[in-house]
């Protein structure tokens, strides 16, 4: 079905886009890569009166690394994350996650900002950003503000972005020292949204013990969640599959899965436990490798 008609605006600068959003109000939708919004338009599940197409905002396509912070413009495409060239090579976790998104056509058009602002609870990138304690940068009528991932993902397809605000970039603090990451997900078919995905980052101290472990889960609640009880239990432990299994088995999982046509709530709980252990094992193994094995490590050399 064709989309219902709408007014179309294609600004070329961020201030121009913000003026349009202010003038058009809440009936306007922001269009980035279009891989989620266009099907909603053609299925007529959403019928905005106006679309503000931001794909021409070249200033949102940059990637830069400033010390231990990687800043990625909102319009950087999944395909670029997957290829992981230039400064993006410093965060291979993004590459591993982006390779799992949809199909190659989705990755060609889709953008990191679009995925984060759409906030599908089963999407890969919101969970990666949550695991890395990323910070969203938004610009609006009152200027620029930074929103930590813990506050940004407010619920099902809901973010902390205010009306008239535009997500312009995400800042990712890169793990320091001996760090490793892993992305594990379960899908029924290639390219599907994850039924459950587990993103793990493990940092080791000088003696090889876990200085810090972080786990974010997608697909088991209305937004990506961190397993903070498991994370707390892992501080200072000798990394091993048994230790990870014990931590996951003995502690509360802060997930709130619901059953649906794809999987029951209990099955999602089961997947969360299994995938979390797998992700931690692989992340710890990567963290423990010699520094020369930079390509496989989460933190780079």
């Amino acid at each position: 079905m064709p989309a219902a008609p709408f007014d179309y605006h294609a600004p070329t600068t961020v201030p121009e886009a913000l003026s349009l959003l202010a003038a058009l109000g809440e009936d306007a939708k922001v269009l980035a890569g279009g891989q989620s919004l266009v099907p909603l338009l053609t299925l007529r599940l959403v019928r905005p009166t106006a679309v503000v197409d931001i794909y021409g905002l070249e200033e949102l396509r940059g990637v830069r690394r400033d010390g231990r912070t990687l800043e990625i413009g909102a319009l950087v495409r999944h395909r670029a994350l997957e290829l992981g060239e230039g400064p993006l090579a410093s965060c291979p976790m993004l590459s591993e996650a982006a390779a799992l998104i949809g199909n190659v056509r989705v990755r060609t058009m889709g953008t990191i900002g679009g995925s984060l602002a759409h906030a599908d609870p089963a999407a890969e990138l919101p969970a990666v950003v949550r695991a890395l304690d990323g910070v969203m940068v938004a610009r609006g009528p009152q200027g620029e503000r930074a929103i930590p991932a813990a506050e940004f993902f407010a619920g099902l397809l809901t973010t902390a972005l205010r009306p008239g605000e535009l997500l312009t970039a995400v800042r990712l603090p890169l793990p320091e020292g001996r760090a490793g990451y892993a992305v594990e997900e379960f899908t029924r078919r290639a390219g599907d949204f994850a039924i459950v995905a587990a993103m793990a980052v493990v940092e080791l101290d000088g003696s090889g013990r876990t200085a810090r472990a972080r786990v974010a889960i997608a697909g088991a609640g209305s937004a990506p969640v961190r397993l903070t009880a498991v994370e707390g239990a892992l501080a200072g432990v000798e990394p091993s599959e048994q230790a990870f299994r014990t931590a996951v088995g003995d502690h509360k999982l802060e997930i709130e899965p619901e059953g649906d046509v794809h999987a029951s709530a209990e099955y999602r709980r089961h997947l969360t436990r299994v995938l979390t252990v797998r992700a931690l094992v692989r992340a710890a193994s990567r963290a423990g490798r010699p520094a020369s094995d930079g390509a496989a490590r989460g933190a780079g050399a």
Binding site: M1, P2, A3, A4, P5, F6, D7, Y8, H9, A10, L31, G34, Q35, V38, P39, L41, T42, L43, V51, D53, Y55, R61, L75, V76, R77, R79, A80, G102, N103, V104, R105, V106, T108, M109, T111, A190, G191
Partner: protein, 174 residues
């Protein structure tokens, strides 16, 4: 409702058309420009049969607003070889019987084309992953993989290196 005039290149030929902003590239190509080799499948970016190359990269034309192709190169399966001839990937599909009902074939060939340009000597597993986003409901995947593998290994070499499409391929954006 916004109407606009867009100029773009389709299989090497300049086009200038009037379109509505809510129209997709798929309907523009099929209904206005007669490019019915681009198939209309699921309409939500999953099946892959409406694949076209946008500046050389595979995209779902059903998920692309036509307004967005202004100034860019669009290549359909018809643009891979001069009229009356076949691209080596198409020849391999014929030789291996890789088309059953044929509905997925244009998207399969364009996806294979873009993939082989980046990976001229793929393994069968890499080929399977590359076409994971293109569905063949006849489930004739084995021969499709055979054909892609054969065209990669053929004396013609990686197809893209020997024969660029009618429209030139510009560097990836972003």
């Amino acid at each position: 409702m916004t109407e606009l005039t867009i100029a773009f290149t389709l299989n090497g030929k300049p086009q200038e058309v009037r379109t509505a902003a809510h129209e997709t590239l798929l309907t523009l190509l099929r209904d206005e420009l007669g490019a019915v080799e681009v198939k209309d499948g699921c309409g939500e970016g999953v099946c892959g049969t409406c694949t076209v190359l946008l500046d050389g990269e595979p995209v779902s034309s059903c998920l692309l607003l036509a307004a967005r192709v202004a100034g860019r190169e669009v290549t359909t399966v018809r643009g891979l070889a001069p009229a009356g001839s076949l691209h080596p990937i198409q020849e391999a599909f014929v030789a291996h019987g890789a088309a059953q009902c044929g509905f997925c074939t244009p998207g399969m060939i364009l996806t294979a084309y873009a993939f082989l340009r980046e990976n001229g000597r793929p393994t069968r597993d890499e080929i399977r992953r590359a076409i994971a986003g293109n569905l063949c409901r006849c489930t004739g995947y084995t021969k499709i993989v055979d054909a892609i593998e054969a065209s990669a290994l053929s004396d013609a070499g990686p197809p893209a290196a020997s024969r660029p499409p009618a429209g030139s391929v510009t560097p990836r954006r972003g």
